[in-house]
Structure formats: C-alpha cells, structure tokens
C-alpha cells in the first residue's frame, strides 16, 4: 500500500471507488498476532497466539467472554478490541435483563457491524483497527462470525486472522469439511494444529497460545494452561509437520545448564 492523495480522510473516496482509511484499518488486523476460530454443530473453539512485548511482560489478552454463550477473539489494535468487547458485553447483558433470554449471536454481530460502519462514514471518527472472531451459541446452533473494520461480517465454518494467518487458513481449508461433526476434543486439537501452522517452526507451548471453547452445555470459558499443555503433549506423536522440524525443536531443548554449578561467590 502506498500513500496517495485520497487516504487522509475516511470520508474521501478514491477515484477507483475505495476508502483507503478503511483498507488501512484492515491492514492493522493483518499485523496483529494470529487468532483462529472453528466450529462444529455443537461447539465453537477460539485460539490465539499470545504476543508479549518482552519476556518480562505479560501477554496481551486477546480472548474476551461477552456472555455465557458468546466469546470473541481479536486481532489488531487490542485497545479497540477491548472497547468493542465492552460494547458486546453491555449488549448481551441488557438483552438478558430485558428479555431474560440469550441474545442471538446473529443479532449481536449485526449490531457490531453497524457500529463499525458508522466509523467509516463520519469525518471525525476513524475505523476500529481490530478484527473480531465472534463465537457463540443460540437457538439455531453454533456460530462463528468474523467482523471486519469495514463493517462487514461473514459467517464461517473456520477462519483465521492476523499475521501468518494464511498458513492456518490453508490447514483449515484442508480439514474444514469434517468440522461440523467433530467432537469437542478434536475441534480443540485442530485449533492447536492451526495455531501451530502460524508459528512456522516456533515451538507450540501452552504459554504461547490461549484457547477458549463454548458449547451446547458449556458456557464460554478459556481453557486453563495445564489442560492445553497436556493436549499439546498428546499432539506430538500424531504431528503432521515434517519430522526434521520436530527433531530440531527437540534438539534445541537439550540441556543448556552449564556443566559446573555456579558458585555463590
């Protein structure tokens, strides 16, 4: 993307009929760390790659619970994502209070999309720089939606956003046909595999990813690190990635401690 004279304002069209500011906002999503989602008939799984500024800091929170039956994973400007999550929570709880019933995911997603659209048509606003994968359950089943800074939304069987998401998408494209009938465990395993693809060689550990699931009898919850760690361990033997990469990883884990114990003095 190069700078041009039509990209200063979100309310300026380019001669080719494009709104550059909106497209730049979508770029921000592509720069964020990866988030993927996939769904079966009864469950939806979200997984994100945790980016931490340095080893000293904690990682960014990228998965938010909006209600017992809805959760989101974000990629892009996490501050924008946090604000939108607050909006989603607010909408869910207001609906629940008025109607004592769960807000249908499809309606929440449309409200979110309309909110994003407003920012593409006001000169004093800017588009939200975050893409959201909305996972939820309602009367009509399990749903996964992707909400884009442009105000568009789409329903997906499986999707990936953020950096190196194409690798995950390729994996998901190969496997998606069987997702509808997948069990909860298989769905989570496929999510971990997809995350692994985005890591491209880096080792998949439970500290580098976050996984959350929502299901028919299961309220939205982030799966604890220990369970993820165990699941990752169980993945290794069935690994589909080329063997040398695994060996290399194992080799790197070799004993790094010095031969002689360091003395206190």
């Amino acid at each position: 993307m190069f700078r041009n004279q039509y990209d200063t304002d979100v309310t300026t069209w380019s001669p080719a009929g494009r709104l550059f500011q909106v497209e730049y906002a979508m770029e921000a999503v592509k720069q964020g760390s990866a988030a993927i989602g996939l769904r079966s008939k009864t469950h939806v799984v979200l997984a994100t790659v945790n980016k931490a500024n340095s080893e000293l800091s904690s990682h960014q929170k990228k998965i938010f619970k909006a209600d017992d039956h809805i959760g989101v994973a974000i990629a892009g400007l996490t501050a924008d994502g946090r604000v939108l999550s607050k909006y989603l929570r607010s909408e869910c709880i207001n609906y629940g209070f008025t109607y004592e019933s769960k807000l249908p995911v499809g309606r929440l997603v449309v409200q979110l999309a309309d909110k994003a659209q407003v920012c593409t048509q006001r000169s004093w606003k800017r588009p939200y720089g975050v893409g959201l994968l909305v996972a939820g359950l309602d009367e009509s089943g399990a749903h996964l939606y992707y909400n884009c800074p442009s105000g568009n939304y789409f329903e997906y069987q499986a999707f990936a956003i953020g950096s190196r998401s194409q690798a995950a998408k390729t994996y998901l494209e190969r496997k998606f046909e069987k997702f509808m009938s997948s069990s909860r465990e298989d769905l989570i395993k496929d999510a971990l595999f997809a995350i692994k693809e985005t890591l491209q060689g880096e080792e998949l550990t439970s500290s580098i990813c976050t996984v959350a699931v929502v299901g028919v009898e299961e309220p939205f919850q982030i799966i604890d690190q220990k369970t993820i760690h165990d699941l990752i361990e169980s993945l290794e033997p069935k690994e589909e990635a080329p063997a040398p990469a695994a060996d290399q990883g194992a080799a790197m884990q070799e004993d790094r401690s010095p031969e002689v114990a360091p003395m206190d003095i």
């Binding site: 209070f97 008025t98 109607y99 004592e100 019933s101 249908p104 499809g106 309606r107 449309v110 309602d138 009367e139 009509s140």
Partner: protein, 243 residues
C-alpha cells in the same frame, strides 16, 4: 385496590399532566391454563365504566407475534397502549429477518420491565396481564401486575378470578389436559365468576395458542341457572337474612 390514591401532591406539578390515577373503563378477570398442546385463555368481553356494564364487545385477549397470546384485565386504554408497545416490539423483531423470534418468556419479561418502570415513575399502566405461549414445545404461562409483580405458573387468573377461579384450578387442573377438558374447566370457572362477579357479563371468548399459531374463538354465552327455590321463594327457601 388503589395503590396510587392521594399521590397528587407528592410529585412535582410539571409532570402531573399525563398519569393514570384512577381507571375508567375496565375489564374484569382473565383466566389462563396450560393444556396438552399449549395454552388456553379466557375472558369476557365486558368493559365496565365504574359500576355500569358499558361496553359489551371488548376483546381483552390478543395474539402477540407467532408464539404468544396476551390477556388483560384493568384499564382498557392502557391495554391498548400496551398492544402498541408490543406491536412495535414484534415489528422490530421481524425486521431482523433472521430466523430468530421473541418467545413468550421474552415477551413476559419485556412487559415486566415496562410495568415496573412505569410503576417507578408513579405512572402505572393499570392492568394485570396474562401472557401465555408455546415455543419449540416449551409451554409458558405468566402474569404481570401493574406494580411489576410477575411470576409463572400452570394456571393464572386475575382480579376476581384469583379468589373464585384459582381454588377450582388448584383442585382440578392436571398436566396435559385435552382441549375439551381444558375448555370445560375454564367454563366452570367462568360460570362461577359470572354468578358472583358484578363486573362479569355473559359473553366470553376463548383464545388458544399452540405450535401452529393463535386462535381467538368467536364469543359465546354460558348457560346459567337461576331457578333456585331460594330465589323463587325467598321467605320459605331459607333465603331470609342470607346473602
């Protein structure tokens, strides 16, 4: 029971222009019961103006959306206002055009919010509402009063029905009654009300809601019997000095 009498002086005068302080045209009891295929509701068609039985063609029960029916006792104009709120709610629900629809539970809770909020503003809707419906096989029957008291049950009655009909329902209502048995039970209650409630008239309607939809039946009258010896010959029949 006039909860709001004598409040005129207690709230700022600017906001006094539009508030129900006393009801004018009122409907009497509404009875609702769950039966095998859904909910049955009954009410007479009377609109009383104080103690005058002024209007005799008032439909006090209406379908709401695809899955529910509502019945109202109390101020008729407030019921009409509530119907406007509900129409707007249902229209917006339909406009989503997404296969989701508000069921009886959602509408009941919406009405509870409306009634309670009005009560908090000292400007109540002077009704007791019965909300019944069935969605995805789940039957639902509930009630909301003008002060926001709300609950669900297998059988509901408002006004005089609380005192005269509910004892009968408690004894004789069963789970999964057939349509015929349920109608007989409702008619039994309505007959008692007809005899004993001064605001009742002998022109009643039955409304039914099932998975297929709502049906508001044509009004009809109940057979009454007044040929008691105590009425014909009060002096000899032991009616002296009695009610």
């Amino acid at each position: 029971m006039n909860y709001f009498e004598g409040l005129e002086g207690t709230v700022s005068s600017e906001s006094d222009s539009q508030r129900t302080l006393t009801p004018y045209v009122t409907g009497t009891s509404v009875i609702g019961i769950k039966y095998k295929d859904g909910i049955l509701m009954t009410a007479d068609m009377g609109g009383s103006y104080g103690s005058t039985l002024r209007y005799k063609g008032v439909e006090r029960m209406k379908p709401v959306g695809k899955h529910s029916i509502i019945g109202a006792s109390g101020e008729i104009s407030d019921f009409q206002e509530i119907m406007r709120y509900l129409d707007e709610l249902i229209i917006h629900d339909n406009m989503w055009d997404d296969g989701n629809s508000l069921g009886p539970k959602e509408i009941h809770n919406y009405l509870t919010r409306v009634m309670y909020n009005r009560r908090n503003k000292f400007d109540p809707l002077w009704n007791t509402l019965v909300l019944g419906g069935i969605k995805n096989g789940q039957k639902y029957l509930g009630m909301v009063s003008s002060i926001g008291v709300h609950f669900e049950d297998d059988h509901i009655a408002t006004g005089f029905g609380n005192h005269l009909a509910r004892p009968i329902l408690r004894d004789e209502w069963k789970e999964d009654m057939s349509f015929e048995d349920a109608v007989k039970l409702l008619e039994k209650c309505m007959l008692v009300l007809l005899y004993r409630d001064r605001s009742a008239i002998n022109k009643l309607q039955i409304t039914k809601i099932t998975e297929e939809g709502a049906t508001v039946y044509q009004p009809y009258a109940l057979k009454t019997h007044w040929g008691f010896t105590a009425f014909k010959n009060p002096a000899n029949g032991g009616a002296e000095g009695s009610w």
